[in-house]
């Protein structure tokens, strides 16, 4: 990391801070890009795609924080000059002709790309910004990443490329760039995408639409508790929904969709039987496999969160050998009108090892 052994201490600190913040920013951005491609081999170590996306979000936020720091340090060289003078600074690396022209371009591109990355972070954290617009705006991120990778390659100290840090950075930049190209080509998750059609639609409760889909033979099956990205409309894009049915090996999957956001509120009016769907998955590790077989197993569901448990109860009917004792709790606002209460009670009749407890918040208030 030592780039200027003969520089004065303030300039030494300045240079190393500048390069370190830049390195951390591009390294985290590369990881963020790679995570965005939904690599299935990382599901097991990261405990599911949902956790992988959380990591993607936080590595992205941290990358922007370090990019902001890098930009501030770069802008702060005048302060060092006025306080300590120019003399203690080593001369810049000497390039000429085409390389120098490219380095100047990389500097300008880096600055503008960073401004756009800041704006993207603001839009991402501003929850009132509509998701259906945000997901299109977010697609520009691979372009910004590739521009910042160009900035990093041309402006990293030459000596790095002869050191382990250069090898690490090279691997991250290659991984991030490949991920960026995969993203730009629109082929993320393509190997797990299966076509199908809507077999049945029903409204099981006010605001909850049940959609039964018949998928092609390519569907590899799923475990109870897993989720999939469902595309009913190409313009709206894919949305994640928990699969509410057990796998019977026949390609039938059911989703129970609650009207929570802009998209799901309008959904029941837009769907019709026979409509084509694309389902990508299954993903997730919320699979009810006990990590500690001796531990007390407790299941807790609130509202529409009951869907993975319904799938598991259906699955257990076909797996009588799975008889670990389970305490299941379901919280609802009104058990008298909640259709899931009856579904759960019916499902648990033949499963003596599941003890069902219904918690009615209205009844508790009375």
């Amino acid at each position: 990391m030592n780039t200027s052994p003969m520089a004065s201490l303030p300039w030494e600190i300045y240079d190393n801070s500048l390069y370190l913040s830049g390195l951390l920013a591009i390294a985290l951005m590369s990881v963020t890009m790679m995570l965005a491609t939904r690599p299935t081999w990382l599901e097991a170590p990261l405990n599911g795609l949902d956790k992988m996306y959380l990591l993607h979000k936080w590595t992205g936020i941290l990358a922007v924080v370090f990019a902001a720091l890098h930009w501030l340090i770069e802008m702060g060289d005048d302060v060092i000059k006025s306080l300590f003078g120019r003399d203690g600074r080593l001369p810049e690396e000497d390039f000429s002709g085409f390389i120098e022209m490219m380095r100047d371009a990389a500097e300008d591109i880096g600055e503008w790309a960073v401004y756009l990355v800041f704006a993207m972070l603001v839009l991402t954290l501003w929850k009132r910004f509509p998701y259906n617009i945000w997901r299109y705006v977010h697609r520009v991120m691979p372009v910004l990443y590739l521009l910042l990778a160009f900035h990093a390659v041309l402006l990293a100290p030459l000596v790095w490329w002869q050191q382990p840090i250069g090898l690490l950075m090279g691997l991250l930049l290659i991984g991030g760039s490949v991920a960026g190209i995969v993203s730009l080509r629109g082929v993320i998750g393509q190997s797990l995408q299966v076509k199908g059609s809507i077999h049945a639609i029903s409204t099981t409760a006010p605001g909850i639409t049940e959609v039964e889909c018949q998928l092609d033979k390519k569907w590899q099956g799923h475990s109870a508790g897993q989720f999939a990205f469902v595309t009913f409309n190409r313009i709206e894009g894919a949305h994640p929904f928990t699969i509410a049915s057990a796998d019977h090996g026949d390609g039938q999957v059911t989703f129970k969709i609650k009207a929570l956001g802009d998209y799901t509120k309008r959904l029941d009016h837009k769907l019709k039987v026979g409509q084509l769907v694309t389902v990508e998955g299954p993903y997730g590790r919320f699979n009810f496999k006990p990590k500690k077989p001796t531990a007390t197993q407790i299941w807790i569901a609130g509202g529409i969160g009951v869907t993975p448990f319904l799938a598991r109860l259906e699955e257990l009917k076909n797996q009588p050998e799975q008889s670990t004792m389970v305490q299941m709790h379901y919280a609802t606002h009104d058990s008298a009108t909640d259709p899931f209460v009856k579904r759960l009670q019916q499902a648990c009749i033949s499963l003596s090892h599941i003890q069902l407890h219904i918690h009615d918040s209205n009844a508790d208030k009375k």
Partner: protein, 52 residues
């Protein structure tokens, strides 16, 4: 539903494995309270749909 009610069902009085799916705020609160009471003897599984 309270933490005490859940702990009363801890038949093994040692390790508890919870599978939770519901509102995020409730998950955080419940996990925090159970961790305080059970120390390291808790496995808490929850889904985390935050794609933005």
């Amino acid at each position: 539903m309270t933490t005490d009610q859940l702990l009363a069902q801890d038949a093994n009085k040692g390790m508890m494995e919870v599978w939770f799916c519901g509102p995020t705020g409730w998950a955080k609160l419940l996990e925090k309270e159970l961790r305080e009471r059970l120390q390291g003897s808790l496995l808490f599984h929850k889904e985390a749909f935050e794609l933005r």
